[in-house]
Amino acid sequence: MSASQRTAARRLVIQRLGYAGLALAALLTVAPIAVIVGIMVWHGAPAISVEFLTAMPRDGLRAGGIFPAIVGTFWLTIGTAIVAVPLGVGAAIYLAEYAADSRWTRAIRVAIINLAGIPSVVYGLFGLGLFVLFLQLGTSIIAGSLTLAIMTLPVIISTAEEALRAVPSSFRVVSISLGGTRWQTVWRIVLPQALPGILTGVILGLERAAGETAPILFTAAALFLPRLPSSIFDPTMALPYHLFVIATQIPGMPVQIQYGTALVLLSFVLGMNLIATLIRSRARARRQW
């Protein structure tokens, strides 16, 4: 074997080892996720029953169901969507379709980066300061939704903007050349084409909102309520906060209920994730450009 052949062989061995190392790193990254999800499903599934999903909690949360928490998370998510979707998509349209590249648009971008980086608990503080205390909305669904909406905004804006920019600019030029106004062009051509991408971003943003605890800690969440909230000015129970409470604050809490709650929360959030993925892959298959 010549020297150069030996080097080549050694290099190949190094490469094989290196690739194996990389694969190992990827495995180390993925394995804990599989374990975590597996544990939650394994221990949580036996807890799931019709009663668990539809009954009120009993015995100081140690028995019964988690219905009010599910309802609360549902309403908080809807409330977040009502505020964040028009605002976020509007902002994305402004950045992608209307704004020229000026100092002000750069300032908007910096602001969005900034919003995206603010810790969720700081959003909680802000919501407490502005909505709960200053605007005197109290600990309520509306205060929590507004807080979550502002937190969700950067996710929606950046994904929606990306979806809008992916629409070929030739469509816009053609529409304008046929006597279309800017808004007609956006409304009839660009938005419909970008819709799947926008929807994906919206759902991913709401998914994050639905799973967050810290922002609603002082703005919306209640430990236990004997009945469902009757208006948006009532406090509410919520799945993530409920899980936090029964995992850390209640002595003698049956593990099964904890796992069951975790699994319901996980399903709620990952179900949204799945929908987003489906929308994205369907749209990709259908796209005409």
């Binding site: 006597g179 279309g180 084409q193 005409q288």
Partner: protein, 267 residues
């Protein structure tokens, strides 16, 4: 005839007013690319006027200035006048929406909108506020016939327009413009992506259309320019070198640069 000169040129044998009169048009972009440096041109009605010359001469810019589509570009300076039926297109008060309905445009690459053939045709009319179904349907047939596409697509109007071949797509783009009943149609290398047969069809269609419309065409080759031009302007470096009836430009050019370009010695 002898009035054909560099600078202030107008085609001699046109009777009456030109449809479009361009005066001292100067356009430059902020990134310093292709621009116009004082263009004067009088485009006659109901004829095919060809703007030809090497790349970077300002043909597309000139075309896009006529319907103010250049507003979308990064224009640094813009001066001069583009008179259309006596009104200055470049005036700030010009209603660009109405202008673009009156001055249609067909692009180099056929861009069909992501909708059905039918919807593509009446898209412009819908934007203009036309809601009556009969009017829309009537426009579909009329425009597709005028663009010589009707026979090929009349039984599948509701299929997606992207399913059409390149040549069909380009004629659909033409039909889409015709649906608005414009007065001027600007064509920016409309056959550059097409095979010879499709190109021939589009050129034939243009010959039919010139009875009713003022056509301004940037051809994709000198040969095409020679085939279709009633009038031809040779643009070089943002200036009009020569403007005359097509036959004259392509057989007896006055300017040496025109002659060299037409005979293929540069470009």
């Amino acid at each position: 005839m002898t009035s054909h000169q560099v600078g202030r040129a107008s085609p001699g044998q046109v009777n009456g007013e030109p449809k479009i009169r361009i005066e001292d048009l100067v356009v430059s972009y902020s990134d310093g690319t292709e621009s116009l440096r004082g263009v004067n041109l009088a485009i006659p009605p109901c004829a095919i006027t060809v703007l030809f010359g090497p790349a970077g001469g300002g043909k597309s810019t000139l075309l896009r200035t006529i319907n103010r589509l250049n507003d979308l570009a990064d224009v640094e300076t813009l001066s001069g006048h583009v008179w259309l039926d006596g009104a200055d297109v470049l005036d700030r008060r010009t209603d660009t929406i109405a202008l673009r309905r009156k001055v249609g445009m067909v692009f180099a690459r056929p861009v069909v909108l992501p909708m059905s053939i039918r919807q593509n045709v009446f898209y412009g009319l819908e934007l203009a506020g036309e809601r009556r179904q009969e009017a829309l349907q009537e426009a579909v047939e009329r425009s597709l016939r005028a663009a010589a596409l009707w026979d090929e697509v009349c039984d599948r109007l509701d299929e997606p327009a992207v399913a059409l071949s390149g040549g069909q797509q380009q004629r659909l783009c033409l039909a889409r413009v015709l649906a608005l009943e414009p007065e001027v149609i600007l064509l920016d290398e409309p056959t550059s992506g097409l095979d010879p047969i499709s190109t021939g069809r589009v050129e034939d269609t243009l010959q039919d259309l010139k009875a009713r419309y003022t056509l301004v065409l940037v051809p994709h080759s000198v040969q095409q320019a020679a085939r279709v031009a009633d009038h031809a302007a040779f643009l070089l470096g943002g200036e009009v070198v020569e403007f005359a009836p097509g036959r004259q430009v392509f057989t007896r050019p006055r300017d040496r640069r025109t002659e060299e370009y037409v005979t293929g010695r540069f470009g």
